[in-house]
Structure formats: C-alpha cells, structure tokens
Amino acid sequence: MKKFVNDPTQFVPEMLQGIMAANPGKLTYVPDYNLIMRADMPRDDKVSILQGSGSGHEPAHVMIVGKGMLDGACPGDVFAGPPSDFVIESTKLLNSEKGVLHIINNYTGDRMAFDMGRELAEAEGIRVGTIVVNDDVAVQDSTHTTGRRGVAGNFFVIKAVGAASERGADLDELVALGNRVNDVTRTMGIALTSCTPPARGTPIFEIGDDEMEVGVGIHGEPGRRRDKIKTANEIAEELVEAVVVDLPYESGDEVALMINGLGGTPISELYLVFGIAHAMLTDRGINVTRSYVGEYCTSLEMAGLSLTLCKLDDELNMLFDDPADVAMRIF
C-alpha cells in the first residue's frame, strides 16, 4: 500500500492532529468526535455551520474550517459518515443563539446520522437547519432511489452560506440560500485509477491500464460505464455535455467552472482540462466568469477529476468574492 500511514485505524485522528498542529490558535480539535472547529466559535451573533461526511475527501471538509467557510467538521472514518453522536455532540459544541446549520451530502449514511443528530439536538432546544447537497449528474435521479450524490459542488454551497453567515444572515435565510446554490450546481466526475482505503489496503476496484470509469463516485463507487481511456478533449466534451444539459445551462448564462482533482491527478492536468472545458463552454455561449482549479473534494489518491458548474447571479458573485480563511491555505 503506497501510503504514508502508521496504524490504519489511526489514519483519521493522526490527520486531524496534523491539521491542529498546523493551525494553532485558529482551530480547536475535539478528538472524541473527530471535530475540528474554529477556536473563535460559537458566537451568538452568527449561525454555526457544520459539515461531517466521511473522511478521505480532504480538503473537504476538515481542512475548510475557518472564517467565511465552515465553523466545524466532524468526519467519520474513511468513506463512512460520522456516527450520530459525533453530530449530536458537535452540534452542541457549536450551538449558537442563531442556530446551527447542517450541510449534508446526500448519502444514506450521512443523512441518517444527521437526522438522528438533528432530532436529539432539537430535543435539547438547539435550532437546527439542514441543507442536503446532491450535485452529481452521473447518478440517474429517481424517486425510487436515494437520489443523487453530493460531491464537489458542496464547495459552492459552503462558500455561499459561509460568506452570508459572516454577513449576519439568519438560519432560514441560509437554508434558502444553500438550497438555491445546490439547485444551480451540477457535477460529473471521471476516474483513471481506483483509490485504496488505508484500512482495506487494496484498491476498491480493478481497472485496466487503458481504461477509465465515467461518472465515478467519490468513494470508488462505479459510475455510468467503464470505457477505454480517451483524450483530454473527448473527456472534457463528455463532462461538459453531461453537466450542461442536465440543468440545463444556457447560452448567456454566467457560470463558475470548477475542475476538481480527485487526489492523484496533478494540477498541471487539471489546468489543461480547465482550458479545454472553458473553450467548450465559451463555444456554447456560456460565460465562465469565475474559475476554480485544484483539489476541493477528493477520493484519497484516486487519479481523476470532476467538472462542476454553478450558475451565478449578483448575490453569489458578491458572496464568492468574500474572503475565506481556511486551514488548508498554502500561502
């Protein structure tokens, strides 16, 4: 297993200790609940924002705790949503007069943990608001299933509500805003390799040297189909097309374009694909006015990337312009 790791069962706590060591004074680490929270939170004049999906998607979400983004994140083990008491206890620790906002990616495990967490927090008199993110167009949405997965698009939801909460928005406004952002955000991903969860020690799926997995999930779940590896142009075209027709994004729309690395793909390739996708959108009359290239929501060391579009308006432009001071800043 090609990893820097000691005891795999301690992978998540040791990572959290590292985050803490790199951000003294700014963050607080509560080991019992895998909770990383802002040292200056909660404050009664600001809604607290909590995320907590599985680990293995870093920087999402423990590394984007900070002013203007999350107030706390309480991830579970690698690729497992947090146990419900992480959610309950984290919600209590972040309790503010203005309430606590839960941002949940649409996975059954995450939803159940947050459902239980919300129930018990509300029983203790805490105001809880909930946003469920489900931006992955690779999954056929249907009332018979769990619906779409939440993936890299949750960055835009968090950025918007994080900024708005700093500006003083209340819980209901944030829920409405977050849902609005989720509604105009769509993502699709593609993998060239599988990742290897530390506790498992072997790849989740086998994939040929000349193959790719189209519409892959960020936990190594299979996607729409397995195919021969294509050129960057062909891949970009497929992702752009799948995402654009879904909303649909239309000629004249102003959008943010994100090329998100899944963990093992170098930033050079992400920029290469960004340039191609940017040109393809421009050809369709879709106006890319905000650019996001890098790693936002990964799948351990998976080689691959996802493309996200978020339709912009004046309010979102203003919120996205606001500063965000996160743990993972590298400058």
Partner: protein, 212 residues
Amino acid sequence: MGDATLKDAERIVRTIAQTAVDNEAYFSDLDAAAGDADFGHSLSTGFGRLLEQWDDLSYEDVGGLLKAAAIVLSKAVGGVSGPIWGTGFLRAGVALSGNEDPSGEDVVAALRAAAEGIMQRGQAELGDKTLLDALVPATDTLESSLQAGGSPQEAVAAAAATARTSAEGTLGMLARRGRASYTGERSRESVDAGAIAIAVMFENVSAEIGEA
C-alpha cells in the same frame, strides 16, 4: 431459567459479533462490487468494540443486553451500518424489554421489530436489495418452523438456510437503496453484502446453538 436464557442470548450476540470480526475482509470485498468496500470494516469496528467492552456492559436481561449493544454499535460505527445495525439491535431490545424469559415467538417479534426499525431508518422496503432481503424471509422461516413444532435448533437451522438462499437471490436484483443504487443496472451483477452478512451470521449462530 431466565439466567440460562440470558447466557444463551450472550452466546448468540457474541457469535454474531465474532462473525463480523472474522469476516471483515470478505464482507468488504462484497461491498467493493457496487459500493465502497468498507462494510466489513464498519461491522468489524462496531462489533469488535462490543467484544472489547463486553465485560463493562451493564444489563439485567436479554432486552438490556441488546440495547447496550445498540449503543456501542451506534457510537462506534458511521456510514449506513452504524444507524442500521444500531437501530436493529435497539428495536429488538425494546421489544424484549422486561421480558425475563423470551419465548420463540418473542424472538420472532423482536426480529420483526428490528426489521421494521431498519426499514424506517433506511427508508427501505423489501426488494430494495438490502440486508432486509435476507433478514425478513429468514424471520418468516423461523416463525413457521417454530409454529410447525420445530425445536429452536431446527428453526434456526431452517432460518439460516432461507437467509442463505435469499441472500444469494439478491444477485440479479436492482439496488434501490444504499450506495449500490448509484450504479443502476450495474448493481444487478453482484449480491448484496449486507444480506450475505445476515446469512453468515444465521449460519454461525445455528452452528453454535446446534452444538449446545
């Protein structure tokens, strides 16, 4: 009598827990087919914690044991399995609450309560290709075997056989819940990991109580 029953229940819960620990890799591999390959790890973490904390659990009766186990599982396990198995154990424990010497019928009722709790928690129905598709038919067989006058050992053996057939019958089914559902038609190509786990647990419990 109540004391002997509690000892039996302890043996059964320990057998289930040991099954989860022993099959970590196997259950994760099953989850790899259409999921994220951590089902075995999650179960093994939860039930491993249960075995570790066994001597510190405090309970008076079978219902209490199951509820104590439920709390350990919920706290230790994330993902789908923590809430699902925690809820299952909790509801079964509540169903047997204060019952000093549960009958076979009581056990069937407890298993039904567990299945119902899981359905609510996971918003899943029979046929959605989850562990329910092994648990529910196995419970049916347990009940009918007992009603037909079978011994507890015979009834559990019959239930284990049904659990096995049903679990293997999930091959070809379309997953409508859990991570496997994201794969759509591709989910038909593999069995459900949770259903197989139920089958192995029934089989091991049957072997354990058959030996008694």
